[in-house]
Assembly symmetry: C2
Amino acid sequence: MKKIKVKCWVEDEGEKFYGPGPNELLKRIQEEGSLSRAASKMEMSYKKAWELVQRLNQHAEEPLVILKKGGQHGGGAEVTPQGLEIMREFENLQRKIAELVEQQTDLIKVLK
Amino acid sequence: MKKIKVKCWVEDEGEKFYGPGPNELLKRIQEEGSLSRAASKMEMSYKKAWELVQRLNQHAEEPLVILKKGGQHGGGAEVTPQGLEIMREFENLQRKIAELVEQQTDLIKVLK
DNA sequence: TGGCGATATATACGTTTATACATAACGCTT
DNA sequence: AAGCGTTATGTATAAACGTATATATCGCCA
C-alpha cells in the first residue's frame, strides 16, 4: 500500500527553526509543565529537548518557552502566549496541506 | 528571514519509495543516459544511486529505469515510460503544494 | 541546613548513514 | 584477443547524530 507523505517546517536563514518535533514538544510542555517529563513522554532525550528550546527562544522575536529552575517544585517549563500562537498557526498549516494531499489521487493511481 | 519549507514523498509499506532525490536522479538519467554520470552530476555516490534504482524497480509495478552493461558504449541507463509518468505526476503534486504554501502568510506574520 | 525535583552542561559511547576505494563482470569494437 | 566505458558489488573508513551517563546548579520547604 503506497501513501503520499508530506512534512512542513519553518527555516530561519536556512537553519531549521520550527517543525513537527518542536511543535510536539511545546504541546507536551503545556501538558506536563516540565521539560524533562515532556521530553521523556515523547521519547526525546532531555539534552535534545533543552537545546531545542534554546534554539526556539533565540530565533523567535520573543521566548516561546520559559524554563525555571529551583523553587517549590524544583523548577518547571511553561509555554508563552507567543508559543501558543505559533502552535496554533503551524497546526493550521499542517491541516491545510494534509487536506490538499488527500485530494490528490493521480500519483497514487500511477503507482498502483 | 523566515521561510516555510515543505517536502513530499511516497512510502510503500512504511518504507521510503519515491521523493525529491529519486526524482532528480531520474531526471539526470534522462539527460545523461548513464547512471554513473547522473550520480556524479548531482553529487551522489554511484553506489547510492544504484541501490536507489534497485529499490525503485522492486517497489514499482514495472521498472522505472533500465540499466544495461557492456556493449557499444559500455552500457547505459534509460528511464522507462512508467518512470516518466511518475516524474510528471510527482512534480505536479510538488507544484500544487508549493502554490498552497505560498498563499499561507499567517504563520510567517506570527514569526515576523 | 539538608533534601528534593527540576534545569544546566560536558563527555563518552553506539548507531546510523554516506562516502571513498578497489575489483569484477559485461559486451561491443577494433 | 585486447581495450574501452559502464554497470555490479564488497569492504573499510569517516562523518553526523542521538543517547546514555554523570555531575553541577538552583531555590523552596521542612
